[in-house]
Structure formats: C-alpha cells, structure tokens
Symmetry: C2
Subunit: 476 residues, 2 copies
C-alpha cells in the first residue's frame, strides 16, 4: 500500500493568486452590501461536503442578476483573479474550494423560477433555485422535476456537476434533462446555449459542454429543464436478499429486462444495521433493495409483477409495499437516513465517498470485491447505490486525525476506481471530478484530457474560472 501517493488526493495543491486591493475596492463600490470580506462569509464559502481543508476565498459577491455575474467576472478578469461559482455548498469533491484564491460568486439569491411551461414540459429557473423549491413551486401543476441527488442542491450546481441520483435510472441525469442554458463566459459575455426545442442539430452542443464543466468554463445564470407529469400511480417496495450477489443480480436482470423502474437502490447489510440502530427500525440485517415504480396503474402492476418474479429467483424475501406518499416515505427511511446513520455511527468521523459507475453487467464484479476489501480493511463504511445505473457509493468513515486511516481509505478508493475503469466504467457517476479525482480522470480519459485542456484554454485563456479543478492546465 503506497500511502503517500494516496494521501496526495487529500492534500490538494494550493497556489493562491494575489487579489489586489484595487479589485476588492472596485467590487465593494459596484456591489455595496452584496459584497463581503468578513471571515464568517469567506469561511462559509470556502468549504463544501468534501474532506478538504483549504484557505477560504478572499471575498464573496452575492449576485442577484445575470448583470451582477457579468460585472463580477469582468472586474475579476481585469486582474486575472479566480471566480468560483457557489450555489448551496453541497458539492462533494472540493469543487468550490479556493485552491487558487479569488472571489466566491454566490448565486443563491438568484432563486426565481422564471417560467413554467407545462404545455411544453419545460421550466426555466435561475441557478440558485433548489430542486425542492422547484418541486414546491410545481406542486399544483401536476408536473415535477425528477432529478434527486439526495441533497437539496441548487439547480445551477446540479447542472455544473452533471448530477443525477435515485431517479436517474428512469428519467436520466442532468445531461438529459437540461435543455438550454444562459451562461456568462470568462470574458463576462452573456451567451445562450440551445433553444427550447426538444431536439436540435444546430452546431456544437454547448449546453452539454457546460453541463458537467464544474464552473471551469463560465457561470450558469439560467437553466431550462424538462419536467414530467406526475405519474398516475406510484408504488414503493423494499425487499431483502440472502446475499449481495443475489441483490445485485436481481438489479441486473431488472435492467436487462428493460423494466422501466423509477428507482432501485441498494443498501448492504452493514448499512442496514447502522440504519436500524439510528432510526429504530427492525429491517432484516441483510442486503436490501428499495424500489419505486411509476406509471399507469396497469403499467405499475406489470412492473411490480416482473420484479417480484426476478427477485424471487434470487431469494428476495420480506417484500413490503406502499402506495400512499407517507407510507412510501416511511418505507424509504432506510435510504434517506443511510448517510446520517453511518456518520453518527462513528462520532467525529469524516467520510471519504466513492462514486464509480460501471456497465450494468459488471455491477457484481465491481461491487462484491469492493465490499470484501472494505470489510478486510476494518475501516467502518456504508454502501448505498443507484444500482440500476451501475452506480454505487462506498462511504469510508475515517478518523480525520489518522493519516493511516486516510491512506487506507484512499487506497480502497483507488483500488475500486481502477477496477471500475477496467470494467469499462467511470470514476464518477454523478459527483464530478473536482479536486479529488483529477488523477483518476487522467487514468480514465487519457488523451481526451488534452482536448478538455485545449477547450478550457480557448474559452478561459487566463484560467480565472474555478481554476485548479478537473485537470491541471499543465499536462499531465
């Protein structure tokens, strides 16, 4: 085990650039009370849900309009000072940390739903609107926005990290559900990518280029999203399995049979155990699948029958069903509480989260050895998974004071990422590269990183947009 190499993942390179007083004075003058240099604000904007500790940005601008975003970038561009977009701070891989110093550009006040077009199955929102807020505003329309990454993330942030979550198996990710964007470029220019047409062959797909670019190419100031009619019927189910292999093979067969399941999530027995304790549940402490089925009543019936048959072949037992909203929520408690239960199981711990995604036929290959390795390491962990997409997360619960635990966790992470890549998969299904996976991206994408770097240089020649993330500007 090569501990120092692994630890590099947890000690990002920090090269703060000079933030001249002329810039902060200009920002102060332009933005007044929307500008802050207080320690509290800087620190709040200098950390996310990642395990990194980095000095905070020099100041924060609270943008309230596209014009504010443009003016901030133009002022920063004059001084070649980094601009780091900030939504709600729920990113997991260090995306918003000021590794090269600069200004945090908080768009959380840009939180208006600008247009709801149920007749076109689209909405247009400002980037600070959160997914829960959007669904709250849609609640009387009969439509909803399905992408659910767990956290109540901002939709601008979700677009920036190409987020997905539990519903992606049925509804796709932000890649499929962002129709068009307004972005402000590294030069402060306001540009619209795409139209509101459902499909288009009009030139390069800039929408998809900005989705997942983690703020490194510009700042998203408007997002046009697809919405969906609320399904006529919704059925939730949970089911226990004798082994992880049985649970995983059930999922593989559900997907291969093209059952249009809306959600299918996996918890391993270890995770069920901590959730039982945390939430006072009495679930059988064996691998658990949590499922949801959407559609017409007839379609939901077909889906549940097909899934029951597959599950039974793999020893699935203790099926519980719920169709009323409050009962569905209760049934899914184990999933919703898994993270909190796990973190509470080891007070004071920090969580190193993994995010591999593999072709569905390789899910068992990717997952079973990973669990064995985690058990052998004796690092406490939890496992949750959007397994219908071949995506799962290990959360290694480490003592932040223990270099050896950090190194072990990173070594486990590296082993499982390398396994996923060998199986045709990716190091990150939905969390993004940020700071944490830059080395993994090189392993995964090889020469393609050179193209990414060339695009970044072309659109942001002074490297002011969220610098130091995804890849280094100097090869490799």
């Amino acid at each position: 085990m090569n501990a120092p190499a692994q630890l590099a993942h947890l000690t990002p390179e920090i090269h703060p650039r000079d933030v001249p007083a002329a810039l902060t004075a200009a920002l102060q003058q332009r933005f007044g009370a929307q500008f802050s240099q207080t320690q509290a604000q800087r620190e709040q904007h200098g950390r996310d849900e990642s395990p990194f500790q980095v000095p905070p940005p020099a100041a924060v601008v609270f943008a309230e309009s596209t014009q504010d975003v443009s003016d901030t970038i133009k002022l920063c561009a004059q001084h070649k000072v980094p601009v780091i977009p900030f939504g709600i701070g729920s990113s997991l891989e260090g995306q918003l940390l000021a590794v090269q110093g600069g200004i945090s550009l908080d768009v959380s006040r840009m939180n208006k739903v600008l247009a709801v077009h149920t007749e076109d199955l689209t909405v247009t929102v400002q980037p600070g609107v959160t997914r829960e807020q959007l669904n709250q505003e849609l609640r009387d329309t009969g439509f909803f926005f399905p992408i659910d990454p767990g956290a109540n993330a901002s939709l601008g942030g979700m677009a920036s990290t190409r987020a997905s979550g539990t519903n992606a198996v049925r509804y796709g990710t932000m890649r499929e559900n962002v129709l068009a964007l307004e972005v402000v470029t590294a030069q402060g220019e306001v540009v619209r990518t795409g139209t509101h047409a459902k499909k288009s062959s009009a030139g390069y797909d800039l929408t998809r280029l900005f989705v997942g670019s983690e703020g490194t190419l510009g700042v998203i100031t408007e997002v046009t999203l697809r919405i969906y009619p609320l399904p006529e019927a919704v059925m939730a189910a949970i089911c226990s399995f004798p082994s992880m292999a049985d649970a995983v093979n059930t999922v593989i067969q559900i997907i291969q049979a093209a059952v249009p399941i809306a959600r299918v999530e996996l918890l391993d027995d270890n995770t069920v155990r901590v959730v039982n304790k945390y939430s006072h549940l009495t679930l059988r402490e064996s691998p658990l699948l949590l499922m949801e089925f959407n559609g017409s009543p007839a379609s939901v019936k077909e889906q549940t029958e097909a899934v029951q048959e597959i599950a039974r072949e793999h020893g699935g037992a203790d099926f519980e069903w719920a169709d009323k909203p409050e009962d569905r929520t209760r049934l899914w408690t184990a999933r919703h509480k898994a993270y909190f239960a796990a973190v509470a199981s080891r007070p004071g711990c920090r969580c190193v989260t993994t995010d591999t995604c593999v072709p569905i036929s390789h899910l068992a290959d990717a997952l079973l050895d990973t669990v064995d390795e985690a058990n052998a390491s004796q690092i406490p962990y939890f496992l949750v998974g959007h397994v219908g997409d071949g995506n799962f997360h290990m959360g290694y619960l480490i003592d932040p004071a223990s270099d050896s635990e950090r190194a072990k966790a990173e070594d486990l992470n590296r082993t499982l990422v390398m396994r996923a890549l060998k199986l045709g998969g990716t190091c990150t299904g939905e969390h993004g590269i940020g700071l944490h996976k830059m080395d993994f991206l090189l392993e995964e994408a090889g020469g393609a990183v050179g193209l990414m770097r060339a695009i970044k240089k072309a659109l942001d020649p002074d490297n002011i947009m969220n610098p130091g993330k995804i890849f280094h500007m100097d090869a490799p």
Copy 2:
C-alpha cells in the same frame, strides 16, 4: 422579397486550397489501391443530397482502420490540406462538399459491428456501419437500434449530424443514444470520449461535443450506442383529420399527456394526394397522422385508447390499425413514399428541404402559416413531420433552372425559420447546419457561435477538418 440575399444560401463560398503533389504522392504511396484520384470517385464523393454544386475533392482515401484515418489526417495536416469525412453521402445540407478542396476520407469500408453487449444494452460499431446493417446484425438478439432518419445512413454520419427521425419522440436522438466515441483529432491523435458506463460526471462531455460537430473537430472511428429490447407488442395506426389544425392539436395533446408514443408523423393533404397517385393508394386526401405504439400488450392498449380519445375530440376519422409487421409496413407506405412521390410529381425538380423544430405548444403556430405561405407561393411542395418532437420538413420542389423559384423557396425557408426562432425553436432539428444554414445559425445562436469558433480554433488550429461548414472562422 430580397431575392439575391436568399440565393446566397444556394451559392456557397468556394475557396479551394492547394493540394500539393507531394501530398497526393505520399497518400498514393501509403494507401495504394485505397487511394483514388479518378474523376468518377472524386465526383461521387463531391455531392450529397443537398441542392449544391461544388467542385469535387482532389482525391479520395478509403480508410479501412483507425490507423488509416490517423495516417490520412497526419499527412494532410503536414500540408494544411482539408480532410472531409464521408460515410454514405446521404447528408442534406452540403456537409461533405469540398468547398475548400482537399481529400475526401471515405470510412464506408470501416463497416464492422465490433461488439454486441445485449447484457449492457450497448453495441460498438465502426462508423461505416449503416443503421439497417446494424439492425440486420441484431435481428436474432431480441434487441434493436431505434434511430431512423429515413435514409440508410452510416452511424458515423448520423452521430456527426446528431440525426434522429421518426422514433426520436420515444427513444431520443443520436445525442441521447451515443454513449462513447473513438475519434481521430485534427492532429491525427486517437482519443476515446467517454466510457461504457450509462452515466458519468468525469470532465467535459466530449462525446456530446463531437456528436453534431459535422466532421469539423475530428473523424469518428468508433461509436458505442444504446440498444433496446424489441417491444413485446407493436401497433401501427393511421388517422385522417378535417384540418391541419385538428391533426396538429391532436399531436400536441398526445405529447402533453405524456403518452409514450413511439412514432407520430404528419402528412398534409397535398402530400397525401401525391402519395395516393404515386403508390396507387386511396387514402382520404386530408391531413393524415401515422402512429406507432410500442410496449407490453397492456401498455399498447392504454396508449391506443388514450390517443383515440384525443383524436376523436379533434375529428379524427378513418382509423386503420395493424399489428403484424407486413401490415404495419403497408399502413406506413404513405410516409415511406412521401419524398419519392413528391419528387416524382415534378420531373426534373430539385428539393429545398426545411427542418425547423419548435416547442410542442407552438407547433400549430409554426406549421399552419407555413402551409398557407407555401400554397400562396405556388411552388409545389410536400410536408412531412416528426411532429411529436415539434419537428417538420417542408420540401419545396423547384425547377433548378429557375432563379426565381430558388429565390422564392429560400424566401419561404427564411420566413419559416425566423418564425421558428421567434417561437423558441431551432433552424434544424436533425439535418445539421452544413453549408445551407450558416446564416440561420448566426440568427439562432448569436454569441454562442463565438464559443463554437473558439473551440474549433483550439482543436483544429489549421482548420483542416471539414472547413467552411457550420460557421465561418472569421466572425461573423
């Protein structure tokens, strides 16, 4: 009507670059019988289905491997000579015309299905595989590839133009169905974009950037695609309507009700008339919807019941149904023959095809005035439409010798494009920009074209990859 401005669309700027003898000698030496300078081969590679006349490329290389593609590009790059990828020649907007001279790089011999992974619902193919060939090779697997642009196009070409067609309303376009690519860059470097995982947040979405880039950023040498299980039940239907408004409003309601219809195509009464004559049919000569429903028997029943109810509210009549393959094909004859019937209705004509796509709620606004304008112009035309996506095609059948007809057709095209843009739509749903719509792209995308240009300059600094397409390198 500003005739000269419109005619500019049909007279692309031609600036052939010098192709030095040293290059053709080097290609001849490297490729032997895979290299051709015959007039016949040059001319065959110098025309597509667009209405343009342009001098042919200087020579043709028949690539048989990724290495061949890489070597061709490297040799051409040494001399800064254009490379124009060629699949099967079915593009409609002048994408493969040698407006700046250069070498046609024919990939049609790269026609192997490299891998079929039904267990992952994916296939990997070489770019010269056509969609019919792929489905032929899949026929015993129980899976199919749904994207059907009409022509038996190559899958590399379909990826390059972000093609779609009749099934897109249910299955999406090439944007949604290409999982990963192997491409050769303008420097001759072989790069893989994406993995075989269903979703990923690993860096910039280069796959989506190359899909739709019309050969201007590199040459696609492998395509990994999603495939789908053959539906358990398939039902086809046709239905006539008293008016275009009734037919269009039926479609709008079907989509808004989220009926998962697999195909919904529109012919106007004029087009039904020419098809009746050409194919000796007796369809009622009024607007016609052609539909297909896929799914389980219960789901197909639900869909057909929902659609019948909506159609009846709009005066839909003469429903005909078919579930056997040969009957379905017969029912869809009118759609399959529409283009040929229309072109045959005016011997010697050329066809100027439009391709707007608008948000579904604006389909009637986009379409009804367009039909009135076509009728008033007295230019013969046909109308077919992938109306479930808000996409339709007018085909203006012009006398190629008549400047006035060309000008009229282009004026009609311009009017309908401007209307579509005003309605939040795009100038091209699926055919691409090519040469024909470069002015329209500027109207549609505005400042975004500057970003496209910067990306092109970054990845292809000598502008050798299919130059002169999509946008001009010198603004605007």
